[in-house]
Structures are given as structure tokens and as C-alpha cells.
Amino acid sequence: MSVELPADTDAVQTPEEIADLLGDLVIGREEHLNAPGFVIKPDTVVDALRRLRDQAGFDHLSCVTAEEYEDRYESIYHLTSYDDRTQEVSIVVPADKENPVSQSANEVFRTADWHEREAYDLIGIEYDDHPDLRRILLPETWQGHPLGQSYDQDQPQVVPLREHQNPLLEDQKADNDSETMYLNIGPHHPATHGVLHIKTVLDGEQVVDLEPDIGYLHRCEEQMCQNSTYRYQIMPYPDRWDYISAGLLNEWAYARTAEELADIEVPEYAQIIRTMGAELCRMAAHFLALGTFALDIYGDFTALFMYSIRDREKVQNILEELTGQRLMFNYFRLGGVVWDLPEPREEFFEMTRDFLDDLPTALEEYHDMMTSNEILQVRTVDTGVLPPEVAKSYGATGPVARGSGIDYDVRRDDPYGYYENLDWDVVTEDGCDNFSRLLVRMREVEESAKIVEQCIDLLEDWPEDERNIQSNVPRTIKPDDDTEIYKAVEGAKGELGIYIRSDGTEKPGRFKIRSPCFSNLQTLPEMSNGEYVPDAIASLGSLDIVLGEVDR
């Protein structure tokens, strides 16, 4: 294995040591498939998380899952470490059924802010000491908590904006003496890459305060997955989270979690095809990120956008050959992939090789036109600065974290698929600015190309009678009752995690998606406050968010 292993930390390694560290805070133990779970009281959350962060190296709050049971509410804090992704621990916080109040973790991890707002919004748990406990995905006037057990779907939800929040009304107008100007950027604005609403307060051209308002593209993806069977029905949905050609990467997140949950083996041959397809998707997604970032910096008709779309098109053609689809692939199955490489295989290999051969020239062109352009450099270097400590506190992952010098990549740190057998590097840049994030994406395209090339070589030489694309998987999958698992893969935008709790049926009891864009977008105010409007727009572009994944 040529990939460098993460450095050993002095961190606590075994569940027993973690239990010792938490001491009398622990009131019970659970066993999740991915990590040990410790049950703590709802008023000791800050204490427990701080101990784990400071003394055991659990500095990454990956996700917060909330759920309502018959007798209690429950929040689960999925912790891991940026230095060692395989170190995982779940902190389970039950809250009272009648009065679901739990302490907020916002003090220890800033990322808890949005995650807990989502839990409040959809489940109904109230978080004590939370700085800003409002609904996040649903409108502020929504009645009830849709994923809670007592939610009444037939309840009418007609609340017009003009009654609730109308900036034109006298009593809701901003102070006339104020020196600042309030500006709505979005939900319809050329630079929001979808339907994002940014509430901005400006002082002249400078951003004083900025708050992303999300939820315009909320499509109940979690609930739809909860209403579908493991075997076939869930797989098409991940394609629709990050729909910027990252479909296979998303599918892999579900495939990995469900396969581990139901203990399904994946044949090596299928793993190589998966790895190749996923990296092709990553390239396509990064090309688009490059192009849209160019739009934000250059203006609406830059040549770079068309060039990157042209190169993405080539990847899409390869993916179309492979999966039969251009965007919503639905190519992975539990236990493998749906079909083998297209026949004649030589043509497919040749097509892919042609693309890989042309890639260095194309990248050279991007570097000529983009990264070596002085205007672009003065626009992006030292703007949108995101220091590594801040990035970690917000749970930033993917190119955003790596652009801040955080050496963290799930593909290497918690290996899956065929990555650990291949020769490639994790790309990091230390600039922490918009330029670094751009460079990381461009260099990651090169790394992905290396991976695809090695996969092609392997697939080409694979013996014909060993081309096993799917293992034997039962027609219906019913994992044991009350099994819990949280697993993540490296999506195009960062760590894409899925939590599943099985309830003994063929459908998940709880299905929670940890979206990298959701956490990354949270850093936008940190990057933009005090900067100019164009830089805030550039920072938003450099985060490369997809609203389909933010809102789910």
C-alpha cells in the first residue's frame, strides 16, 4: 500500500479508555456498527464533547442525528478525528419525551449550530444555550416537526410571507439612522448556483454581516429513503443529492453504509469499476466547480466556463457509456454494480485513455488562463480566508478543508473501495484562501486521472472468467432490529456520511444524510465578513456548494 498512513496520535484508542475519560458522565453504553456509543445526560453535552475534543483528539463533529422514539428523543453526535478518521465515537443524548431539551454543543463545535437547528426543525428537540434556535430547512412559520412521531401531515400549512415577515412593513423596516444597507442576495441571483438566499448587511461595498438562508430546495430526501426498501428503492435517490455529476460518489455513500449494515461483500472487480466511476464523477464535478468559479470571477461569458463544460462533457460521455445515463446514473447496487463495462471493452478503454491523454493539455490551458492570470490572483489570493482551526470547528471537509491545509481525505483515512491499492496522493494547499481551494480542485483532477488510469489498466488485464460484478445478495434485506451505523465516503464536495438505524423491516427506521455542502456553507460568514461583495461572491463560488445537497 503506497498511501501514507495518518500519523499515530497519543489519542485514546480503545472504548474503555474513552469510557474512563468520560468517567461518571456516562450513564449507559451502546454499540454502533461503526463506533462505540456512550449515553450521557442531556445537560452534560458540552462537558463530554470538550473532554473528547481536547483530551482524546476527537476534533471533528461529523454529524448530529436526531430521532424521536416511543419513550424518548435522542440526539447522536458522531465524532471522529481529522488526524485519524478510523477513530470514531458516538455520543448518544436522550432527552425527555414530554419536554425534549438537550444542551447545545455549539460551544465546543461551531458546526453544531446548523445541525442542531435541523434537528429542532425536523424532529423537535430543543437545544439549551443554542445561540439561534430557529427552523433552518422549513419556513419559520411551519407547524409541527415533520420527522417527529406525532406529526400530522394533513395539518394545513398556509402561512403567507406578508403576514409573517414583510420587510416593507413599517415596524419591520430597519432603523432609518443606520449606516448599513440590508441586501437580499438570492434566492434568485446569478451567483448563488441554485436557490440560496443570503441575508447580507452592507456598509458601502463591504459585508458587515452575512447569513445564508437555506431550505429552498428541501425535498424530504431523508424521509423518502425511510419509505423505501434497502435493496433497490433507495439507490436512485443519492443521485439527486449532489446532482452536479457526482452521482456515483453519492451512490457509494449509501452503498457503503448499507453494505456494512447488512454485511454484504463486494467483489474486487466491482470495487475497481466503482472506484473508476467515482473518480470520473469527481473529475466532472470539479470541472463544473472550476467553470462556475470562473463565472463568478470573470463574468457571464468567459471562455473558461465553456472550456470546462467541454471537458466535463467528455467525462459525461464516458460515464454514459459505462452507466447508460448522463446524470442520474443509478449504477451501483448493493454488492456491486448493475452491469459490466460496455462491449466492446476495447472501445471503452480507448475512449477513456483518449480523454486521459488529452487531460494534461487541457489542464495546462486552465493554468494558463486562470491560475497564472494576475487579475485572478489579486482577486483570489488572501480573500475568503478560512484558517484551519475555524474550518475544523465548522466540520469543513473535502477541497474546502484541504485548501486550508487540513490533510484529510476519507478515501485514504478510512479506506474503502480499491483506493488503498492504488498509487495517488491527497492534495493540500496551505493558503486557506479562494485561490488555494481552486488549486486543490485542479490538482485533484490530476490525482483522479491517475486513479482512473490505474483502474483501466487493472480492468483491461482482468481475467475474463473472474469478472464478477455483483455478489450474491438476497432479494430482500432485513438487517437486525436496532442496528445503528454511520459511514462516510469522500464525495466531490467532502465527507458524505449516512446514518442508518434499522428497525427490523426492509426499510430504514431512520435515514440521515450528512451533507458536506451543509457544513461547508456554514463557513461562509467566517470567510466573508469584512470583505467586499465581489469577494463574498467569490468565496461562495470557491465553496462549490450544490443546493440539492445542502437542503436534501
Binding site: 463574468g299 471562455a303 465553456m306 492570470n373 487579475i375 465581489p534
Partner: protein, 357 residues
């Protein structure tokens, strides 16, 4: 050198002669017809440039084909687009400040059209296409061109939209920062010619600078003082608000800047006005740096048209290739860079001209 026609009879008088009219009536009718012809030629250019040439040029730079379905080379898109744009609903936002909201889109094209009145466009057949040739022609053309920023501020302010307001304010800041270097650089040409009259400036450039192997290089000021030419080119791009200085519009930042709220006919007028200003910018460049209508073989007017279209092509090239600078960087370049350089250029030119002469 064909097409350099200093001291020749101007277009309005030629028309009056042709019609056999004399005196004040002849001057008035000649001027009206002349202005009508010149104005329509310029509008026709923008008509071709806006819906068709811009698309084709951008497409060529960005690996696309662009319009090719309607008519030869997609040329009839001009008709289709005109119908489309004019048949749209004219939306006037609540709280728009009228009549300045309505005046702004008229002022922009009008100011550019006025500028063409004094530009010597060379000869075509028997006609010498220049409407007027006042002593202070150069000052006049800059004065006309800079009326544009009033229109942008009016539109931006009157729209009652925050994005429009920001666009309007950006336009003012940008115009103030770049107008001074622009005019100061133009003055370095006046130091050579000793006259603000545009026909004199053109005539000055018809002499031979050097002869290399029998090919005589004319004394165009772009060759005489390339430094001033580059300065002027950059300042001109900022003055007309094209990339990388398109920050008053800055789509993806402030939506469309001052023209965010404009639709239908008003939008068309703004759009026309912008293109007219690009062509006027090109015409000024051609006149004071590129020998005006001078050029071999072809009639002067054809050379003039080639030069202003070349400038248009250049703006589209920049649009496809260059990132937009930030507002504070733009102001910094204007005040700390361009201003200093343009004054240095003026002083140096004055000293050199003084020593030689």
C-alpha cells in the same frame, strides 16, 4: 494616403449643394439629412453587433457555434431578436423615480450619437463623412462621451433597487477615476498637433514617420507614442465599462447593476447605448491614435469602419478572457496607477516635443 481630407467640404454642405439649397435652409436640411445618415449607419452597426456579431465573436472565443439557424450565418437573428425584445412587457417598478427612470435610457444612446457628430470618418465616393469640425472637437467628443455616466447614475438611482443603486455608484466612481487619465493621455496627442480640431489631428498623422524598405510607416500617434496608446486603450475600456472593468454591471455580483430593473424598450435603449459607446470609444481611438480614416487602397470610410470594429472585437476578446477586477482594486488602479502614468506621459511628451521643436 487616401481618405485624409482636412479642409475639405463637410457632409452637410455637400448634401445642401447636391439638393441645390443655399443659406440657412441649406445648412439646416443638409445637417439633418447628414445626421440622419450617420446616425443610422451607427445604429445599424450596433444592430449587427448586439444580437449577432457579439454572439459570433464570443462563440469563436469559447469554442461554440452560436446563432446559425435563421438566415445566412444566422444573420436574421437580428430581426428575430428585435421583435422579441420590443414585444416584451415594459415593467416599471413601484417607487421608480420618474421621469428620471424614463430619461436614463434615452440619454445613454443620445450622448454617444452626439459624439459621432465631430468624428472625421473619411471619404466614401464623393462624400466626406464628417458632420461638423469645430475647433474644440476633441474636448467636445469627450464631453459627449462622459454624459453617459449621468445616465447610469440616473438609471441606478431611479430604479429604487439596491443592486441598481450599487451599479450606479460604481459607475460614478469608475468614471471619475478613469476620465482624468483618459483626457490627460489624449492631451499628450494635442501636444504634438497643437490643435483640438479632429481633422487637424488626423491630418497630422498622415505624414511619414519612417520608411523601411520602401514601405512608409505613417506617423500615427500609436506608433509615435505607443505608451500613450496603451494607457488610452486601458482607460477607454474602463470609461466604456467593458471587461475587465465591467463592474457597474458585474453580473454574478450585483445582478445587472444599473439596468437590473429595465426591460423591453428601455433595456434595448440601454443595450444600444452601450454598444454605441463602445463604437464611439473605438472611433476616438481611431481618430487620435490610429490615423482616423487613413489606410491604403480602400476608401477612408471603410478603413474607419474596420478600425472601430477592431476595437469592438478587442472588447469582446477581453470579455471572454479576463477576470473582472474588484471595485477597490479598480479605483486603486485608476488613481494610483493610471493617473500618475498619464501625467508622467504628458510631461515627458511635452518636454520631448519642446526640445525637438
Amino acid at each position: 494616403m487616401a481618405g485624409v481630407l482636412q479642409g475639405e467640404v463637410l457632409l452637410p454642405e455637400q448634401i445642401a449643394d447636391l439638393l441645390g439649397l443655399e443659406g440657412a435652409l441649406g445648412a439646416a436640411v443638409g445637417a439633418l439629412i447628414g445626421a440622419f445618415v450617420v446616425g443610422n449607419v451607427m445604429l445599424a452597426f450596433t444592430g449587427v453587433a448586439g444580437p449577432w456579431a457579439k454572439r459570433k465573436i464570443t462563440a469563436a472565443f469559447t469554442d461554440r457555434i452560436a446563432v446559425n439557424r435563421i438566415g445566412p450565418f444566422g444573420l436574421f437573428i437580428i430581426i428575430a431578436d428585435s421583435v422579441r425584445l420590443l414585444s416584451k412587457e415594459l415593467i416599471i417598478p413601484d417607487g421608480a423615480d420618474r421621469p428620471s427612470y424614463d430619461l436614463a435610457p434615452l440619454i445613454l444612446p443620445a450622448s454617444a450619437m452626439l459624439g459621432f457628430a465631430v468624428i472625421p470618418m473619411g471619404s466614401l465616393g464623393p462624400f466626406n463623412i464628417q458632420l461638423a469640425d469645430p475647433e474644440a472637437g476633441l474636448a467636445l467628443v469627450f464631453a459627449f462621451a462622459s454624459i453617459a455616466s449621468i445616465s447610469l447614475v440616473m438609471g441606478g438611482y431611479a430604479s429604487n433597487n439596491k443592486y441598481s443603486l450599487m451599479g450606479g455608484l460604481r459607475a460614478v466612481a469608475q468614471n471619475i477615476a478613469y476620465e482624468i487619465p483618459l483626457i490627460v493621455t489624449a492631451m499628450s496627442v494635442v501636444v504634438f498637433t497643437g490643435s483640438l480640431q479632429l481633422s487637424t489631428i488626423v491630418a497630422e498623422q498622415s505624414t511619414t514617420l519612417v520608411s523601411i524598405a520602401g514601405v512608409s510607416i505613417p506617423a500615427w500617434f500609436a506608433f509615435v507614442n505607443p505608451f500613450a496608446f496603451v494607457l488610452f486603450l486601458v482607460a477607454n475600456m474602463a470609461e466604456i465599462g467593458r471587461n475587465p472593468f465591467d463592474i457597474p454591471e458585474a453580473p454574478t455580483e450585483i445582478v445587472a447593476g444599473y439596468q437590473t430593473e429595465y426591460s423591453s424598450v428601455y433595456f434595448v435603449l440601454f443595450y444600444l447605448g452601450e454598444f454605441l459607446h463602445v463604437f464611439l470609444g473605438g472611433a476616438i481611438m481611431a481618430t487620435i491614435f490610429l490615423g482616423g480614416p487613413a489606410g491604403p487602397v480602400l476608401p477612408g470610410f471603410v478603413w474607419f469602419v474596420i478600425k472601430i470594429w477592431a476595437f469592438f472585437l478587442f472588447t469582446q476578446w477581453a470579455r471572454s478572457a479576463l477576470p473582472r477586477v474588484r471595485i477597490d482594486q479598480l479605483i486603486e488602479i485608476g488613481w494610483k496607477g493610471m493617473l500618475v502614468l498619464s501625467f508622467a506621459n504628458l510631461v515627458l511628451t511635452a518636454i520631448i516635443v519642446g526640445v525637438i521643436a
